[in-house]
Symmetry: C2
Subunit: 221 residues, 2 copies
Amino acid sequence: MRSALRSTKSGRSPDITARAHLRDTAIALFSHEGFRVSVRAIAEAAGVSPALVLHHFGSKDGLRQECDTFVLARIREYKEDAVRRSTPGELLSRMAAMDESAPLVGYALRSLQAGGELAHSFIEHFVADAEEWLAQGVAAGTIRPSLDEKARARYLTIQGFGSMLLDLALNPPADPGDFAAAMRGYLARNGLPSTELLTQGLMTDRTMLDAYLLYVVDPPA
Amino acid sequence: MRSALRSTKSGRSPDITARAHLRDTAIALFSHEGFRVSVRAIAEAAGVSPALVLHHFGSKDGLRQECDTFVLARIREYKEDAVRRSTPGELLSRMAAMDESAPLVGYALRSLQAGGELAHSFIEHFVADAEEWLAQGVAAGTIRPSLDEKARARYLTIQGFGSMLLDLALNPPADPGDFAAAMRGYLARNGLPSTELLTQGLMTDRTMLDAYLLYVVDPPA
DNA sequence: CGCAAGGCTGAACGCATGTTTAGTATGCTA
DNA sequence: TAGCATACTAAACATGCGTTCAGCCTTGCG
């Protein structure tokens, strides 16, 4: 039961190997337990020796980097697939519903919280999508224009993910692996107020916005 | 230079002692470096031996708990002081401007990210404030009413802190201790779009809200 | 067949961590 | 003054970590 995979045929194929299995196990464990899981735990979960992990990836950091690039690439693939016909939130929960991709989402969220390299790429990618999505809405007349479209796209992205991360940190789901359930919980708690905010705003008039614009033009000492 | 404080007069006074100094040092270090700082580092920063930390607090967890309750109590004090005439954000940055209280804010944010006990109390406290603040605004006619005032207060609180946390994780300030500067950076990046969202919302009509309400009443399979 | 290469392992190393222990100094109290 | 509790320390302990090392099998190639 050591290895679920047969030994490599040619020994040269770069994936579908025990190495790939190790990477997938690492992603799942990082997603489930956080980045502080030990190399030993990853090795045990994959049914191999700790030394093999280092043999393949050089170091734990090497493993992390390989996971990072892999996760980013896969999420990009998924996004290309499920083109346009969904909001980012729907995309994420749909991805998480599939057993294979759920750990990817968990890994990405962990990485977001840690704020590493992947976090930036991840956010930038979603910001670019948001910007395009917003522009289409503005053109179609369903979304109000903004004085700074780029800043708005970035803010809405960070606001969405940030809210979700904090809500999840405060209300940790019973099974951290079941991201879809976690997402349902988040929406049950915040779906109404967030939709209200998006459709109607909070204030009854734009007094606050005008005050802010004046403030920016002529800031106090 | 071992201890900046003279020895206790009676040996009984619970504070103003080296113990308090130790606690303050720990809060500052936790705030600056995160909760993974070693007991040894804390002890060195306070100019005492590592064993003394355990002698006073029993364990590192004991120290954490004491820091938690202390930070929560002090932040509550500050909030009682600077009553009502400020938004939570202004309150936080004002607190952070003061050298004494800056570590408290940093500690609270770290705790928020970790999602422990303090995080809940902290959020609950701000949620309660937000609810009252919103109710006053609704009564005054400056804020639109919500279909679920409690949920809105909680969402806006989590949304505000969550956005800030993620933004800070992605754009770590040069000096993590200078929370005021970090806050300025956050506002420079997100002040306009967040104000736009609060005053005008995102959508041009309430189609999306109506759709959501229908969805809630009669959810699909 | 012989042999080199690489996947893979068990055991150990070096280090940092939280914690314990035994002991010293100091100041209050009786 | 004697005694005792308390603040405090140096040193060690136990554990878990990432990593290294020497060597074992298996496989493919000459």
